[in-house]
Amino acid sequence: MKPTSITLTEDTILYLQGVTVTFDGFKAIDDLSLYVTKPELRCIIGPNGAGKTTLMDIITGRTRPDSGRVVFGQATDLTRLDEAAITNLGIGRKFQKPTVFSNHTVFENLELALSGQRGVFENLWFRLLSEARDRIDEVLSTIGLVDHVRRRAGELSHGQKQWLEIGMLLMQAPDVLLIDEPVAGMTHQETEHTAALLTELSKDHAVVVVEHDMDFVRSLNAKVTVLHQGRILAEGSMSRIQDDERVKAVYLGGVEAHA
């Protein structure tokens, strides 16, 4: 099943066209095309080495594609920009491992992520305005960490760190949220909370989730893209994906057999 060729609509926020990346002769991403609209919740699944993280790296400017186009919004070519510029454009990323600043408080973590001032000297004179404070409070309640605002981030539980990271993403006011394995290592309850959080966020953001946990992906009830050997194997709703013979063969079958 080839992804249906989509004509660009106004709500397309991100598209990749014919992207290829080679590491030492190994094609990590092979002539891949992907379209994401805003708002949307999209899950990207695939076995290890399918190219999921590389895909994220390409979008955020960590890895440069050998060929192909990566376009944000209507016409911004991301392959020409560096990481910082891409972030400031409105693409936020949550890494696989929660990397919050463990010596900083929860509040300070959010404050650092606050969109806006990124220059050296303006940060020397920086004063937190009341509207920025309100935004931090708002995000704190979205991610459910109001009671932990003064704690050092290093003291938080694993799940709380993941939410704090999502909160930091939100502080950057991005259009696109790239979220790498949000529920790895989470308890059942934390996973449920995260699913609700992501669903809520997908109402006004483009949320792209990379995940291994099939139950979690199912609970998100979103459009799923299956990657395999750097190519898109299938795309569609979870129920459609599950019926796809090739997907079963390379991935889902294996996982279901485990379960």
């Binding site: 955020t60 990481e83 910082a84 510029a85 972030t87 400031n88 990323r93 890494f95 990397t99 919050v100 600043f101 463990s102 010596n103 900083h104 300070e108 404050e111 650092l112 992520a113 969109s115 001032q117 990124r118 220059g119 050296v120 940060n123 020397l124 004179w125 920086f126 930091m168 950057q172």
Partner: protein, 388 residues
């Protein structure tokens, strides 16, 4: 307020204020036979320690807060020192051994006919003062710009800073560099018209050093307490994460590195008139490593800890090198190993642990609010050659 939640910092500044009064009064006003009399050599020695403390403070700013272990901060100190030394040489005028009105003695001795162009202007104090700030700052800017942009970090960066100071030492040893070769610059007579040997001048220099240290502390404190400071500490803890938030980390590193180099240069400039000489050995790699030990002993990431460490280690050094000259290097080596293994957060960390054990909460008034993580990019990493 800048210092409102910094009790230890206020204590540090108060102590400096007391020193700035007690030492000059003890030297100038208390009669020689009184037990409270401070001998003139002690004034000069204290001034030297205060300059070292400022140098340690500068290093702590980059090591404790930015996570860059500079093994070349002696270079910025020495450059500031040479800047002051050049001014002092020009001040000698006709009072030199050869009595040449323009050329310093060593140039006459080397048969030079005229002053090299880069000595122009150093007879004017404001120009010399500007150079004292500018030259270390520009060197740090150039070096940092190249290193940070290429994302050189950890032990590799440390080695490069060490190479920087070593290269400068070799350069300054050469006679044709025009800085007096291995003899350096010395035989200074006066500063701003004041006789350098006069007790009044010595006390004035001491007080100026104390003011510079206090000012340096306030500047550093202001930087680390700003949002820029929080960004810098975040870079120390997780550089790539800061980049992924959209900050250009290399610019922040560059800013802090340059500020630190300028402070080190000021320390060097105040040091030279008090010790009466500047020569290329100040660029020696060992010197720069000693600075690291001062900061490690005091406890990095507190600012004043570095200053206390510098004074403490140097006091021990000046005592031991006189009383037991053969043991000093063993003590230094022992400190290096001992602090790394047993006191990763230095004496300030130890004090803090003791206070917490006895129930004083809130970590000595919040100054350890963002301590560097134990062992991270610390001495141990360097000792083990572990890159970040």
């Amino acid at each position: 307020m800048l210092l409102s939640d910094d009790r230890a910092g206020i204590g540090f500044l108060l102590l400096l204020g007391i020193l700035a009064v007690v030492i000059p009064v003890g030297n100038l006003a208390v009669p020689n036979d009184s037990v409270f009399h401070v001998p003139t050599y002690a004034v000069a020695l204290s001034g030297k320690f205060i300059c070292y403390a400022l140098l340690a403070l500068a290093l702590d700013l980059v090591w404790g807060y930015l996570g860059i272990l500079s093994l070349g901060h002696g270079a910025f100190f020495a450059l500031g020192g040479y800047g002051m030394g050049m001014y002092l040489m020009r001040q000698i005028g006709e009072r030199g051994v050869y009595g040449h009105p323009v050329l310093p003695d060593f140039m006459v001795f080397l048969d030079w006919q005229e002053l090299p162009w880069y000595w122009y202007g150093f007879d004017v104090f404001p120009f010399a003062a500007l150079m004292i700030l500018l030259v270390p700052g520009l060197l740090a800017f150039g070096f940092g710009w190249l290193a940070f942009r290429s994302r050189v970090t950890g032990v590799y960066l440390s080695i490069m800073t060490q190479a920087l100071t070593y290269a400068l030492m070799l350069a300054f040893f050469r006679n044709d560099m025009g800085f007096g070769g291995n003899n350096g610059l010395t035989d200074f007579k006066s500063l701003l018209g004041f006789d350098l040997q006069a007790p009044g001048t010595r006390n004035g220099l001491f007080v100026a050093s104390v003011i510079a240290l206090a000012g340096g502390y306030v500047v550093c404190r202001w930087i680390v307490r700003s949002r820029l400071g929080r960004i810098v500490m975040a870079i120390r803890d997780s550089e790539s994460r800061v980049r992924s938030l959209g900050y250009r980390d290399e610019r922040f590193k560059l800013f802090v590195f340059v500020v630190s180099a300028v402070l080190a240069g000021v320390a060097g400039a105040l040091y030279v008139p008090q010790v009466g000489i500047i020569n290329p050995s100040e660029f020696g790699p060992i010197n720069s490593i000693e600075i690291v030990i001062w900061v490690a002993v005091g406890g990095r990431g507190t600012l004043y800890g570095a200053a206390y460490g510098a004074v403490l280690v140097n006091y021990a050094k000046s005592y031991l090198t006189v009383a037991y000259p053969e043991v000093w290097l063993f003590v230094l080596g022992g400190l290096f190993v001992g602090v790394t293994v047993f006191l990763p957060r230095g004496l300030m960390g130890l004090l803090n642990d003791i206070r917490e054990r006895f129930g004083v909460r809130g970590g000595v008034d919040g100054h350890v609010e963002h301590p560097p993580e134990r062992g991270r990019d610390g001495l141990r990493d360097v000792a083990q050659g572990r890159p970040q």
